[in-house]
Symmetry: C2
Subunit: 135 residues, 2 copies
DNA sequence: CTTCATGCAAACGCTTTGCACCAGC
DNA sequence: GCTGGTGCAAAGCGTTTGCATGAAG
């Protein structure tokens, strides 16, 4: 049998109008937005993208670590993060406005707590919610 | 028009076999369990309760502060808390086993962060996940 | 006997998937 | 012209609700 084409390991991401539109939009907004909201905004901007595609693209970006995801009230909200490093968020309950928070003390505390109780592979979820100045 | 009966403010909780079964079960387990899991366990114990009733009862208990709720992977898990005071959890990803954690330092830190950024009505969600000794 | 609880089935809201068509490269 | 992307419609999944029946007090 003939040899495999030895394709590049990258899944060959393809540039499309839809992906560009979503990526550009995320670059302009730095508040958390749901897939549905992003879909609506794009439609209002005349850059219509199918809801399925929005979900698929956001999912991919989240997997690639390009966007942060928050789950609130049973739905996911997305946001392009400025910091690549591990961080948490202070999020406005009303408008989704968010501030990135780094909390080394808390990280350390969480690891200690887990270790002290014999838990391994510790991980934690932490978000602070409130109402921002403008709301 | 005649006067209102001046009913007691309590919504008149009624003792039923189903509620007793759910409440008893929660008293025996101190790991987080989903509504579906509780429904299954009760059925296996011969104490069958409709899934709807399990949801409604857990919801009511959560509203009353009698049980703690955790949302993970898009589904809710419940557990009778030992401490009435505000606390967080260290939860096993595999079996749902949980330890109640109190973290005054973190509470204070969260409030400060919110205040420093001009957020009001601050609140936070924090859970530590890991794999427990027995898993 | 009145009121609230139960439970089935249907509805819901968000998200994912199947599949035919379309567009990068 | 392959190969992967898109988008509609339909399915999935946890959860909630409408409504007729049933039990508690």
């Amino acid at each position: 049998m003939t040899r495999l084409p030895a394709r590049p390991p990258q899944p060959g991401l393809r540039r499309t109008r839809q992906r560009a539109a979503i990526s550009d939009l995320l670059g302009e907004i730095d508040d958390f937005r749901t897939a549905q909201q992003i879909h609506d905004i794009l439609r209002d901007n005349g850059e219509a993208v199918g809801l399925t595609t929005v979900y698929r693209t956001l999912q991919a970006m989240a997997d690639a670590g390009e966007v942060d995801v928050i789950r609130h009230d049973g739905e996911a909200a997305f946001r392009r993060c400025h910091t690549a490093a591990h961080h948490h968020h202070l999020v406005c309950r009303k408008c989704g406005h968010a501030v990135e928070i780094s909390a080394p003390v808390v990280e350390q505390w969480a690891d200690e707590v887990a270790r002290d109780h014999g838990f391994r592979d510790a991980d934690h979820e932490l978000e602070i919610f409130g109402v921002c100045r403008n709301c």
